[in-house]
């Protein structure tokens, strides 16, 4: 391995380990990222299950599985936001400024935050999945389908972490929280959240047509029902978003290097 890669890995490992230790040792930081998806799962899958009786609703695996995919991907996105808030917190405490001086490969910082975000989300997604199964979710997809769903979740999580990290690197304040949360929240809710896309009406139907979250959601629902759909489009969107947000985060890092 070249010294370049070795330096990046060392920085990423140190940042990830610190972030994870900090998150798991502070229930006030970790619990909300766990509780929010569970509440959405209960509220949507429990409270709105009658929507499966709307004429034209034809998802074969039931409403809990239909909503589970949304909550699964939403938890991946908000897991990224929580990691972004941790980046902002590190700037406010002066920790990142010290890291910028000490780290031989600064892009390792971003890699470290992304790795920590992925581990945090894997814990959250496990709990959400167990909760969904406990409430009677039907899974019709096989192992390969579920692996596809997990990969989509990871792509969403990495995208959101890179976006939130990019925002944090630019603003370097916890007050940037709404700037991370609101765009992600709106993007997710402008997709077919409650009913399939062809049952949407009005301006949300138009927005859902061009929203990449729609492809991710529909592919995820295809995986869990064992009837994969729009898989290539969803993965192209996921990989494209990761690449785009990766550039956004690295440019944010360069700005932080100049200004912090």
């Amino acid at each position: 391995m070249s010294p370049l890669h070795s330096d990046t890995r060392a920085v990423a490992g140190a940042v990830a380990r610190r972030n994870l230790r900090h998150a798991f040792k502070n229930p006030a930081l970790f619990v909300p990222s766990l509780v929010f998806p569970l509440v959405f799962l209960l509220a949507f899958a429990g409270g709105l299950s009658n929507l499966q009786n709307v004429p034209g609703f034809d998802f074969p695996s039931g409403y809990t599985a239909f909503q589970f995919v949304f909550v699964f991907l939403q938890s991946a996105a908000f897991g990224g936001v929580f990691t972004g808030l941790a980046v902002a917190g590190d700037f406010e405490s002066g920790f990142t400024q010290r890291l910028l001086l000490a780290a031989p490969r600064r892009t390792g910082l971003i890699a470290g935050y992304v790795a920590a975000g992925m581990v945090r989300w894997l814990v959250t997604s496990t709990v959400v999945t167990l909760a969904a199964l406990a409430t009677g979710m039907r899974v019709d997809g096989g192992g390969a389908d579920l692996l596809g769903l997990l990969t989509l979740g990871l792509l969403v999580n990495i995208t959101a972490t890179l976006f939130a990290t990019g925002v944090s690197m630019r603003l370097r304040s916890m007050q940037a929280g709404p700037l991370m949360q609101i765009p992600i929240f709106i993007t997710l809710f402008l997709a077919p959240v409650y009913v399939p896309e062809d049952l949407l009406t009005g301006w949300v139907a138009t927005a859902a047509d061009v929203n990449p979250a729609t492809a991710l959601l529909e592919a995820g629902r295809g995986f869990i029902s064992g009837e994969p759909d729009v898989v290539a489009v969803a993965f192209a969107c996921g990989v494209g978003l990761v690449a785009f947000m990766g550039v956004f985060a690295v440019r944010g890092l360069r700005r932080a290097e100049r200004e912090a």
Partner: protein, 263 residues
Amino acid sequence: MSATDRGALATQVGFIARRSVKRTLRQPALIVPTIAFPLILLAVNASGLDSASRLPGFPAASYLDFAIVVTFMQGALFAATTAGTELATDIESGFLDRLQLTPLRASAILLGQLAGAVAVALIGALAYLTVGLIAGVSIKAGIGGVAVLVALAVLIALAFAGIGAFFAARTGSAEAVQGLFPLLFVTFFLSSISLPRDLIEIGWFRTIATWNPLSYLVEGLRSLVITGWDGTALASGFGVGAAITILSLAAASSALKSRMART
């Protein structure tokens, strides 16, 4: 309490209320999200959930009519955090300590502090109504119903502001008050806020929604929009709203007195 005492209390409440209203209205960061966020959610959900209005037994012609009152509930949620954060900030900054050197009573401080949150809730209620009416919502109870709707919305905001003030007085921390938001948010979702209780299919969820007092607040507000004058729904809405207001203000007043006695 003599008439002179009552007059003195009213004057004290007036002083604190003026400061609270001025301070709140001077912060766009408090007002804009309170008005904009519920309206954005309404726009998204009214369109995304419109197919729910095709369910047999759904009580409204459109989901927008059904969901307009959700904005009032979200406004009340913001009132809770606004009132709590402002009181906690006064505790953290030492302003409450300085007030103790004056003849002000704890009850006057509490009632005055809530004025800012109630003012924001009132502005929000009028904004939600205006946008709703422009978007095509029709209020079945007519003009009188609009007045009652605003009155109930303000009562609900006062009830939630009392809860925020209680948390603030107990903890003395604005950060702890912010932690109240997810808790109340959870309670909102576990009510009849998204579908009528008789259309909730899952038994345990319907039971929680039936026990959740927030369901009765929502249903009281909603009855004016989609039913007209429904005495039972209104009595439940005002009854639950008044009960939460009395309990939360009594708890907040007691917590504030304890805090003032300690410092």
